[in-house]
Amino acid sequence: MLLAGGQGSRLGVLTAKVAKPAVSFGGKYRIIDFPLSNCINSGVDTVGVLTQYQPLRLNTHIGIGIPWDLDRNVGGVSVLPPYEKSEDTEWYTGTANAIYQNIEFMDTYNPDYVLILSGDHIYKMDYEVMLDYHKAKGAEVTLAAMPVPMEEAKRFGILVTDDERRITEFQEKPEHPNSNLASMGIYIFNWATLKEALIANASQPGLDFGKHVIPYCHDKGSPCYAYEFNGYWKDVGTLNSYWEANMELIDIVPEFNLYEEYWKIYTKSDTLPPQYISAESEIEKCIIGEGAQIYGKVYNSVIGCGVTIGADTIVRDSIIMNEAEIGKGCEVYKGIIAENAQIGDNVKLGIGDEAENDSAPHIYNHGLVTVGEKSVIPSGVTVGKNAVVSGITSKEDYPDGALPSGKTLIKEVAEV
């Protein structure tokens, strides 16, 4: 059961129109491709994807699951949005509440075990190994956990275990953590245990795994174990961590390697043609998706499928998502340019002094300049650092042809 309903509000304009799991990543992928590919690579071939916030992009991306070989006669992928019931109709009010509302779906398959995943992490993990561990330990609940630096432990749900890795205590974002094992939001439950726990706690408002269901199982005496995971795992919850995770892919041998034959990541490919690099281009330390046309100079960047970068344009340390177009003679520094954005000629992005963002400094920071999807930026303007542009903008929106650092320019995209 893959939880993909969250907005991911700390990604700012990137998630204005799409759910976080549908945000593109690493040139051609979307975040949800990672857990979905993990599922099929681990032999999990019955997957329910729980959607709620802005599901259109997710629905079209997942379809009947062909890219992940999840188009099956039995099982396969099912998209599970909240639905109307004869009484007590409600949205998914929490992670466990979403699962609770789909007890019927799981009951049709009557599984022995249920794997709960979230759709917003970048990692490769063999869930079968975790399941073997779960069985070997005689656990009823197993939580995947990874060691984090002690000083960061207070940002996570922390698991305190005995020598056998049996969990003795949970600490949710503790001030003084007793362990550095952080829960990764990946759980395996015995189906009977999960079902009983969900029904027993059904009336709990905002029913949540970390806050309610797992402590309930633990208090009841069900054996709960921690499964230590030491591979690459990245939460891309903030713009900066999202940017960093992308940038890590362009290292010579990245820690998270997409080029291994074993454990492929699958995605829905809309674009097939190769990419064209013109005679005047310079490309260094980049990954570039299919069908891109590069006429300019691109350094240290992640470029999506079907992107056009005009002649004499310089792109550095940036993420340009699928089908975005950048005109001629532009400069882009530390930009995150979302899908289908159109940037005119001689536009300069990410120029100027650092300044704190005026609307949401906790989102737009680290000198990044963010452009929302389908945005239009007219020719000849300059946009500073920690700035954000979204919607169709025109010359009049840029007094003196510039949007200074730290400013926010968000226009509603006109309904077509």
Binding site: P67, I252, P273, I283, E284, E290
Partner: protein, 372 residues
């Protein structure tokens, strides 16, 4: 659509030199991400033809792998679908396909069991985009027995490897010569035909009785005066792959912006099998000029005026010029390659030097990939 499709994908020839060892021409990789047969298959599906048979014979491994699933071209349907026929031993027959007409004859049941009134015959070794409905409409309007798609080649081009035809002012074909010694026209047959299904069955059966097995020689040329055979002239891009030089030129055409735009960006799309490769990666030292690079490739060196297919690895300090690097090639450091086609899955050792002098050199090195 009122037609079924037949794609002739059997052949290869000596003019493909060493490239013919591995696969039929229809399975030759084209333009970085495609194979030759994708163009005919995509044209079929974009023309809403629902039932398509691919007739193959020569070294069909690559082709069969490529066609293992028909879903990429939207043929994974309950209605219709894609069938691949290779020669089989039956009660009546135990020979290979002895020619294009024989290939159809040996699968005549497929034609008999169809109910669509027309057949579109195409070959798997041509690069083009076409709406076959337009040809069919023309065929019906002309009350033709057979319609042959044809194209005027530039006057200076050597056309002796094609079927050459001459039409009268009504577009009826009066002369048809296969690979003539001296060509007296520059209108060539594109190897695409429309014919009524029952007519085709009848002609093929009659040919088989007489021991005649070639569609062009024994049907088009034999019946050119007795049947109403018309030419449908196209002016759009069309290229046939029959030799190493053709193959090289067809790939290099995709470096031209108008041709790239025509095939990659204009409706309708060309489809191909999806390989789930990561984006192409350019490390420090990469220097790319006027080239096509496909997904899954990792580039550390210089690439100029070249087409690099999927999953290639180009080592440090390499120079690749005017060359085609086929799928999954590994090129060791400090290698120089110019005017070459490097065969797929090849491993080129570090410090190698390959240059085609006067003609395109085909590089086949069956080295072990990982030498310690």
């Amino acid at each position: 659509m009122r037609a079924i499709g037949i794609i002739l994908a059997g052949g290869n020839n000596h003019r493909m030199r060493e490239l013919s060892q591995k696969r039929a021409i229809a399975a030759m990789p084209i333009a970085g991400s495609y194979r030759s047969i994708d163009f005919a298959l995509s044209n079929m599906t974009n023309s809403r033809i629902q039932r398509v048979a691919v007739l193959s014979q020569y070294n069909a491994k690559s082709l069969n792998e490529h066609l293992a699933s028909s879903k990429w071209w939207d043929f994974g349907r309950k209605q219709g679908g894609l069938s691949v026929f290779t020669p089989t031993v039956t009660n009546e027959n135990n020979s290979w396909f002895r020619g294009t007409a024989d290939a159809i004859y040996q699968n005549l049941d497929y034609l008999r069991e169809s109910h669509e009134p027309y057949v579109v015959i195409a070959s798997g070794d041509c690069i083009y985009k076409m709406d076959y409905n337009k040809v069919l409409e023309y065929h019906i309007a002309k009350k033709a027995d057979i319609t042959v798609v044809c194209k005027d080649m530039p006057a200076h081009e050597n056309v002796d490897r094609y079927g050459i035809l001459k039409m009268n002012e009504e577009s009826r074909i009066e002369e048809f010569e296969e690979k003539p010694i001296v060509a007296n026209s520059n209108t060539i047959s594109c190897g695409i035909y429309v014919i009524r299904r029952r007519q085709l069955i009848e002609l093929i059966e009659r040919g088989a009785e007489d021991g005649q097995y070639d569609f062009v020689k024994d049907i088009l040329i034999r019946y050119k005066n007795m049947k109403r055979i018309f030419g449908y002239k196209i002016t759009s891009y069309w290229k046939n792959i029959a030799s190493v030089e053709d193959y090289f030129a067809a790939n290099m055409d995709f470096l031209k912006p108008d041709i790239r735009d025509y095939f990659f960006r204009q409706y309708p799309d060309i489809y191909s099998k999806v390989d789930d490769l990561p984006p192409a990666k350019y490390n420090v030292g990469a220097n790319i000029r006027n080239s096509l690079i496909s997904s899954g490739s990792i580039v550390n060196g210089t690439v100029e005026n070249s087409v690099v297919f999927k999953g290639a690895f180009i080592g440090n300090n390499c120079t690749i010029k005017n060359s085609i690097i086929l799928n999954d090639v590994y090129i060791g450091d400090n290698t120089y390659i110019e005017n070459c086609i490097v065969e797929s899955h090849d491993t080129i050792r570090a410090n190698s030097y390959h240059k085609g002098e006067g003609e395109i050199k085909i590089v086949i090195e069956k080295n072990d990939r990982f030498v310690i």
